[in-house]
């Protein structure tokens, strides 16, 4: 395995929100921009011809202002949002051709996700939250309890197993979110502005936790952020989105010093 193995390949991906998305798609392919499309078809251009290769065991950062399509893009990777047109290959498998059943399997085994607003289950304890991904795969209770406890320990929340999310601080809640995502042992981790809701000190602490874990686990991580410092700190590659289009995808130094170099 060479270190530049591509795990996820996004090809010519378009997403248009609106009723008449097929007609709009043709207009966009013909070169129409976001504002003009909104005026003419009352359709919102979410993603415009995205091509992205994500390398195995690396942290791919996707940056952009709010409304640039970052969150839309990451939700295409596990098909929480269906694309208007395009192709997404994971391990050379076209995930858009998966049936509903196969998609559920795929989500259970291959990808897990960490959310900006944590999205923990308020009625479940920390232990039940972390074990959720395993419990719905019908893994026996004693087994998922044990595996969940291991991850709770790994993110430093020992002793909080029986607490409800509402009883924890923001930083602790996101650790639960992270542990929940790691507990399924999925190879790919999607992180949608996972640390944006945290205050700067906690955020920096969480970034360190993530980097420590990554040194050990070598996951393929897609990390969405709007914070340049965060992107530079954790990204192996940084892609930049603007108005739904990919502006740049390169290693962090190039991003920082500009494309002229």
């Amino acid at each position: 395995m060479s270190k530049n193995d591509i795990l996820i390949k996004v090809n010519q991906l378009y997403k248009i929100f609106g009723d008449d998305s097929n007609e709009a798609l043709n207009l966009v392919k013909g070169g129409m921009g976001k504002d003009e499309l909104l005026e003419k078809c009352n359709c919102v251009l979410g993603l415009n011809k995205i091509n992205l290769d994500i390398r195995k065991a690396k942290i791919q950062v996707v940056m952009g202002l709010s409304g640039s399509g970052k969150s839309t893009l990451i939700r295409h990777l596990n098909r929480l949002i269906e694309p208007t047109s395009g192709e997404i290959l994971v391990n050379n498998q076209d995930i858009l051709s998966l049936s509903q059943k196969e998609l559920i399997q795929f989500r259970q085994n291959n990808m897990s996700m960490v959310f900006q607003k944590f999205a923990l289950f308020p009625h479940k304890t920390v232990l039940q939250n972390v074990g959720y991904g395993l419990a719905i795969q019908n893994i026996p209770v004693s087994e998922w309890n044990e595996r969940a406890k291991k991850w709770i320990n790994r993110v430093g929340l020992d002793g909080y197993e029986t607490y409800y999310p509402g009883q924890l601080s923001g930083g602790m809640q996101q650790r639960v979110g992270l542990a929940r995502a790691l507990a399924t042992d999925a190879e790919i981790l999607l992180m949608d502005e996972a640390f944006s809701a945290l205050d700067p000190l906690i955020r920096s602490e969480m970034q360190n936790i993530l980097l420590d874990l990554q040194n050990e686990l070598h996951k393929t991580i897609i990390f969405i952020t709007h914070d340049l410092d965060e992107a530079l700190k954790i990204g192996d590659r940084i892609a930049i989105l603007r108005d739904g289009s990919m502006v740049q995808d390169s290693d962090p130094q190039k991003n920082y010093y500009g494309t002229s170099r």
Partner: protein, 295 residues
Amino acid sequence: MDWFFNFPSMERNDLREFKKSVDFTFTDFTRSYGADIEGFFEPLLMFLVWFEKFFINTPWPLIILMILVFAWFGSRSISVLVGTLISFLTIGYFGMWEDTMSTLAIILVATFLCISIGIPMGIAMARSNKIQALVVPILDIMQTIPSFVYLIPVVMLLGIGKVPGLIAVCIYAIPPIVRLTNLGIRLVDKDVLEASDSFGANYWQKLFGVQMPLALPTIFAGVNQTIMMALAMVVIASMIGVKGLGLPVLRAISNQYLALGLMNGLAIVVLAIIFDRVTQKFGLRMQKYRNDGKD
């Protein structure tokens, strides 16, 4: 200019014919299918009769004990418990024990029926906007049409007795549970559902693992309302032959017995308050995860 001042209505003869044809059609329908429909409800009647007998024939101390256990399980509150005990002792002392037991039986069966039909209906409504668009107007009709109007066809079809009474109570009492189940499920946080999706939960896992538990306090408010509305119907149900606290009230109205009406009316109120407090406290306890601090 006559049409301008007098509404151009249907000819009197035509109108009479129209009403007649509706009436006769329904009478024919009743004649041909009444027995079958009655047979369909036979198990329900048997259950209701058995349940009522159980309440009436069990010695009163045991019944009070059962009610206290239920009140404690629901509310975990000493004051509710004491209030319940005093209320039932008073009801018994004033000679309304048997009627109260009959009312209790029909209320419980009606609530059980409403929950077992209403919750699946609410779930279906929450799942599909089309079903919601179809069911909401029906619920509107059920809630606003005067109860006497649907008593007519029910009595024509099933005669006078417990089952038509039960059906009338259910028609009146089922809308809140359906509406609030639908509302509760629809109000579940979209982010949480997305998280559940992202881990590969299927429809049933999402429904029973995430949506229903989070909607439970709202659904329970619906159960509470359903019980209250069922109790409000007991007097009207007694007009078509349901025994219980409603019957003496009806007698009191026609004979102007103030004391009799007041006593039985207050007994209904007391039942309502007990049910309300117990179910409300239970609903609150189900949301304890929403509060800070460990339990």
